[in-house]
């Protein structure tokens, strides 16, 4: 009896250990093709990639190599044509659209090259938007949004509309919006692509500080090799395949 109990407990610890060591993202044999003008364009071909929680990765590659396509798959915005995809302990291939939406809402924050803020909402309401899809009351969502705006140093711009903000400020608002759901993963597609060098390094510092201080997993698509050096891993996309290097 006692022996059986011991074996049970051992198994439980083992299971827990496996759970703990499961990577945040795991791609196995992922392919993505596009049909265009009757031709099949294979963008990703048998891609395997593992990202652990708390890591920071840069995705590098030539233009048109499939970086954004890879990021969209990582962000559950696009379904691969084949392969296995696990994220946050869930099998993504079998999840329904609503489950994917919930996963995006709770675990992923997006930062885009062109900010993608809602032009009709104030900075505060832009930041609060993801929370309204969780059913958080407007006032509470605004309070929490304010905390994030303070964090990115834009407390005094809360009532501004995106059109009244500079490029760097817009990207800070977008980062605050990505942070508000306290995500495990931040995906950024050329977040500094539309910014001048000074502002760009400020934005990168902000993203890197989040990775350092809150252990938020960071995946950044970039063309800039100096930016990529600040991240722990570099993932090169080339000819439909990926290769990962450590810095």
């Amino acid at each position: 009896m006692g022996g059986g109990l011991f074996v049970c407990a051992l198994q439980l610890t083992l299971v827990l250990a496996v759970c703990n060591s499961e990577p945040l993202i795991s791609l196995r044999g992922i392919t993505k093709r596009y049909q265009h003008a009757g031709q099949t364009l294979s963008v990703l071909n048998d891609v395997c990639l593992t990202v652990h929680a708390g890591e920071s990765c840069a995705i590098l590659g030539a233009s048109g190599s499939g970086k954004s396509t890879l990021l969209a798959i990582l962000g559950l915005l696009s379904a691969p044509d084949s392969g296995q995809h696990r994220f946050a302990g869930q099998d993504i291939c079998t999840a329904c659209p609503d489950q994917l939406a919930a996963l995006r809402n709770r675990h992923i924050g997006f930062v885009f090259q062109n900010f993608n803020l809602m032009p009709r909402l104030t900075a505060l309401d832009n930041v609060a938007l993801p929370l309204t899809y969780r059913g958080v009351a407007r006032n509470e969502a605004r309070e929490r949004a304010m905390v994030r705006l303070v964090q990115v140093g834009l407390a005094d711009r809360a009532a501004h509309h995106p059109a009244d903000l500079s490029g760097g400020q817009r990207q800070r608002v977008a980062i605050a919006r990505a942070l508000i759901g306290e995500p495990a993963l931040i995906l950024a597609d050329e977040p500094t692509g539309s910014l001048d060098t000074g502002t760009a390094s400020d934005i990168m510092d902000l993203l890197l500080s989040l990775n350092r201080e809150y252990h938020t997993t960071l995946v950044v698509v970039t063309h800039d090799i100096t930016i990529a050096r600040h991240l722990q891993r570099q993932i090169h996309v080339e000819g439909g395949r990926v290769q990962a290097f450590a810095s």
Partner: protein, 392 residues
């Protein structure tokens, strides 16, 4: 994962209204169709209702208990006593013979219609007298006459007013004026114009015009009779008395029913018209929403990336379509109400606003908005996030 995300309705509405504001002028144009549709439904229902109640009120005043029987071949005589015995539900029975004559009073010659009848006519036609009295059953053979209001005025045109007791020459006979009628409207069923007629006892008619036959019988039913039933009883009795004589019987109820049916048909027609403008407005709403969604694809993609589910996107655009329609419906309700009120004013009707028209008008407009907003909203919800995001 099991944690359900629920967007609060108030927030949804807020967002929909914010979205609407940016639609601007294009949405105003779409609104025009919706406003017209909603306004016409509400105006037409009200106008139809007011017209129907007005028509009914008109008829109600004319006595729903009257029957008018018209012979196809005029009989020499009608045994009213027998008829009364057979049909005690009849309160009064008055046969009528008509002729056209010229009257002379103090050298003044006037053309008039001569009506020969029984004493019962006064009750059957609800005639009231201004002066004197109507002739009675005992005056059957006397040369007594009762003068209609308008005819009395014409005869008084010479300067001397016609009075009870005066003598009026009809052809070669002198008739003594027994009474003068009050001015009152004729019922629509009535075969004669009381105001322009000279009433004399029926048996004396042959003296004045040998060819004048008994053309009609005016009857009035006792209280609380089923008029259609009574009409068929009268038809049977006449067939019995006059050997299969074919008669035509008019009752007010028939005409009221005919009139309401007609006004109902009219309002159906108007409703069809309203429906057409509503559908046109609905297509306008759909058009605006399709363009709106095409322009905001990127926004839809971003919302999906932030965690909006398909139904969140669907509700967002459905609500925008509904809010757009609701504004139009409200404007239309005001416009339609004002229009119906103006129409009643011009027609001299009493205006009453039917609450049902508001429910029906706004309700049908909102349904139209919902129906035509559904397709664009579902199309928006079915967009693939990455494709929507790629849109410029």
């Amino acid at each position: 994962m099991s944690a359900l995300q629920v967007q609060r309705p108030a927030d949804l509405l807020c967002e929909a209204l914010v979205g609407l504001r940016t639609l601007g002028k294009r949405s105003l144009l779409a609104l025009l169709g919706i406003v017209m549709g909603s306004a016409s439904v509400i105006a037409l229902i009200n106008i139809g209702n007011n017209a129907a109640s007005e028509a009914e009120a008109l008829f109600k005043g004319m006595g729903v208990d009257t029957l008018v029987l018209r012979f196809s071949e005029q009989p020499r005589a009608l045994d009213t006593v027998r008829l009364h015995e057979m049909l005690p539900q009849l309160r009064s029975i008055a046969p009528i013979a008509q002729a056209s004559v010229s009257l002379v009073f103090r050298g003044q010659a006037v053309h008039a219609s001569l009506v020969g009848s029984h004493a019962a006519l006064a009750d059957a036609m609800r005639l009231t007298l201004r002066e004197g009295r109507f002739f009675s059953d005992f005056d059957q053979l006397a040369t007594f006459a009762v003068v209609g209001h308008q005819l009395a005025q014409e005869l008084s045109a010479g300067g001397v007013p016609l009075q009870v007791g005066d003598q009026v020459r009809v052809n070669n006979y002198l008739y003594q004026v027994l009474g003068i009628l009050q001015d009152q409207p004729d019922g629509l069923l009535m075969p004669i114009r009381a105001s322009a007629s000279l009433f004399v006892p029926l048996p004396g008619m042959a003296r004045l015009d040998g060819r004048a036959g008994m053309g009609e019988v005016v009857m009035r039913a006792a209280a609380d009779q089923d008029m259609p039933l009574l009409a068929s009883a009268v038809r049977q009795a006449i067939a019995h008395l006059h050997g299969g004589q074919d008669v035509n019987i008019l009752i007010a109820q028939q005409m009221i029913e005919g009139m309401t049916r007609q006004s109902r048909t009219f309002s159906y027609l108007l409703m069809a018209l309203a429906g057409v403008s509503l559908v046109a407005g609905g297509v306008g709403v759909m058009n605006v929403m399709v363009m709106n969604i095409a322009q905001r694809k990127r926004e839809i993609g971003v919302r999906m990336a932030l965690g909006a589910r398909r139904r969140d996107i669907r509700y967002l655009f459905l609500l925008e379509a509904l809010a757009l329609t609701a504004i139009g419906a409200l404007l239309g309700a005001v416009l339609g109400g004002v229009f119906a009120w103006g129409y009643s004013l011009l027609s001299g009707w009493r205006f009453s606003f039917a609450v049902s028209s508001l429910v029906l008008g706004m309700g049908s407009t909102l349904l139209v908005g919902l129906f035509f907003g559904l397709y664009p909203a579902m199309a928006a919800a079915r967009l693939q996030p990455v494709e929507a995001l790629r849109e410029e």
